[in-house]
Amino acid sequence: MTDKILSVEGLTIEFRIGGRFFPVVDGLSFDLARGEMLGIVGESGCGKSTTALAIMGLVEETSGRVPAGEIKLNGENLLQTSRRRMRQLRGNDVAMIFQEPMSSLNPVFTVGEQIAEVVRLHHGASRKAAMDHAYDMLCKVHIPAPEKRLHQYPHELSGGMRQRVMIAIALACGPSLLIADEPTTALDVTVQAQIFDLLQELRDATGTAIILITHDMGAVAETCQRVLVMYAGRKVEEGPVEAILTEPSHPYTSGLIRCTPHLDRDPPAQLPMLPEIPGIVPPVTELGKGCPFRPRCPHAHARCADMPPVIPVSANHGAACWLQEEERAA
């Protein structure tokens, strides 16, 4: 792929727990093309946000380490670059928005100052030019009365508006990659839809590739082209959205999809209980060899004691499950 902007290969991230390092993300690989929107889904604690922090070069800030793998952004390996160079890229070529818009903006600076800051830092713009740019960004994220918002403080804005400001900050320098880490979790449903629409619109306008980290399959279905399903720090399935939704090939993905509520046009008289996946994600300290989903999997068998590789299902769809091999053999 010539327009590949991000390529993650064999990424392993470890955190120190009680004096020992345990892998939180283990051998993760994926690619992202320009203007593409990739959803990374999975339960809490399966390494989605940690992967995002690694791409931002911020894992060290949280006392983790990256012992193996490579993260190439536009061909440049971020894991081998200097801290200085990483600072130049961060906020400029790769940007991130977080799940807590209420607390992600600094309470003592105005909205305008916080957007302008990143423009002045990376583009060397003057105070005036940066403020003008901040105004343009507020217009682009469709904040009502942008002129007024520029001089307001975060506490004067609603959660949805604050997340729009976060998006304005993230996109102010025209990054080639935006990571949105559960950007709508803290917002109410109508605002969630608006934020997703906004992200799509901005991606179409600027060609910024977006990684959407979420556990909301519905959001992924509406916004993304491709999905990567993570479980306990590993990729368990990856493929085009339609393929994954209609034909999930890993028992965990099937479980996730079954857990998503649907609104049917003609609901049955007796609504069925929403299914759940029994059990919880095992703690990283208790992961053995083999498939991490084995303890919760309805199809688990002897072979699952070995970790399955990602087995292709179709051209660009693969799942890390021995069932695939058996199905292909059959």
Binding site: L58, V108, V118, L121
Partner: protein, 327 residues
């Protein structure tokens, strides 16, 4: 508009507080044992009942207490704090003459404490287990535990008596000739030790406070946002974190202004600093009621003003504090 109203309301509160302080002080002083007429008579050398009685009469001390209070309040309202029994000068003159020295001492000590305390706290918070962090903890313990007068005497012994870096006491060199610049430097030279003595306790407190609040702020989501912007660690800490971390320090500093004034009494006495504190000390020894009352009134006034200023400063630093929302 509502902000102006809020400020006006605060000023009215402040004035009522000052009035309450005057009345309370007046009653308190008059309940204390000891008769000023006897002290004055004693200073004159030898006395009889008649002399004491005539002194009582001439100072109005023979009037009923409430009448005295009323007369005093009327005077104070007119800007007249009375006449010092001992110094034989209007109390207002005495206070205004001594006030600049005290304000210089107290404000410089407070600023020094805020700046050094915050700096130590923030720097040590960046490495919570580093050497500096432990140093700050120990300094805070020692600084907070040592009595002000003891610290003052130790500093005097070391830096003025043994090493002769600084003058032993006073505010000016009597024999110094020269222009304003030379005189100002001379005052600063005299100021160093008393200022250091008075600020040590607050440096200790503020460094602990700033350390704790910086640690707290550095874990905040907006600090992660600042890092995600690609800002250098220095900008993250000294721009984004510091401004939030300094808020509790400003609050406490404003509230502690009154403690600083009382600390000034001890420091001024140790260093022979010609300020209000020493005047208070001398007046108490001499039962100079009008002067004591004047100083207490003035201190209350200064503290109330300091609290008002803190409130305003707080509004400048923290935009979340809006009119009416601060309580």
């Amino acid at each position: 508009m509502s902000s102006l109203f809020e400020i006006a309301k605060r000023i009215v509160y402040a004035l009522s507080l000052v009035l309450a302080v005057i009345v309370f002080n007046f009653l308190l002083i008059h309940m204390a044992p000891g008769d000023p007429a006897e002290v004055i008579a004693g200073e004159m050398g030898g006395t009889t009942e008649e002399i004491v009685a005539s002194i009582r009469q001439s100072y109005g001390l023979d009037q009923p207490l409430l009448t005295q209070l009323w007369l005093y309040l009327k005077q104070v309202a007119g800007g007249d704090l009375g006449y010092s029994y001992y110094f034989n000068r209007p109390v207002t003159d005495l206070i205004l003459q001594r006030l600049p020295a005290t304000l210089l001492l107290v404000i410089s000590a407070l600023l020094l404490a805020i700046i050094i305390g915050t700096a130590l706290g923030v720097v040590s918070a960046r490495r919570p287990r580093g050497f500096l962090s432990h140093f700050v903890t120990v300094l805070a313990l020692v600084g907070f535990s040592a009595p002000v007068f003891w610290t003052g005497i130790m500093l005097l012994l070391l830096f003025a008596s043994y090493l002769s870096f600084f003058p032993v006491g006073g505010m000016y060199s009597m024999t110094l000739e020269g222009g304003f610049g030379v005189k100002a430097l001379d005052v600063l030279h005299h100021l160093v030790l008393p200022m250091a003595t008075l600020s040590i306790i607050y440096v200790a407190q503020y460094s602990r406070l700033a350390r704790a609040s910086t640690l707290d702020v550095l874990g905040a989501d907006y600090i992660r946002t600042a890092r995600a912007k690609g800002l250098s660690e220095a900008v993250v800490v000294y721009k984004h974190a510091l401004r939030n971390a300094v808020l509790p320090v400003v609050t406490i500093a404003g509230l502690q202004f009154s403690q600083l004034l009382s600390g000034a009494v001890l420091v001024e006495t140790v260093f022979n600093w010609p300020g209000l504190g020493r005047l208070a000390f001398e007046s108490i020894l001499r039962r100079d009621y009008p002067t004591i009352l004047g100083i207490l009134f003035f201190s209350a006034f200064v503290v109330v003003i300091a609290n008002l200023l803190t409130d305003l400063a707080y509004r400048l630093i923290d935009p979340r504090i809006k009119a009416g929302a601060s309580s």
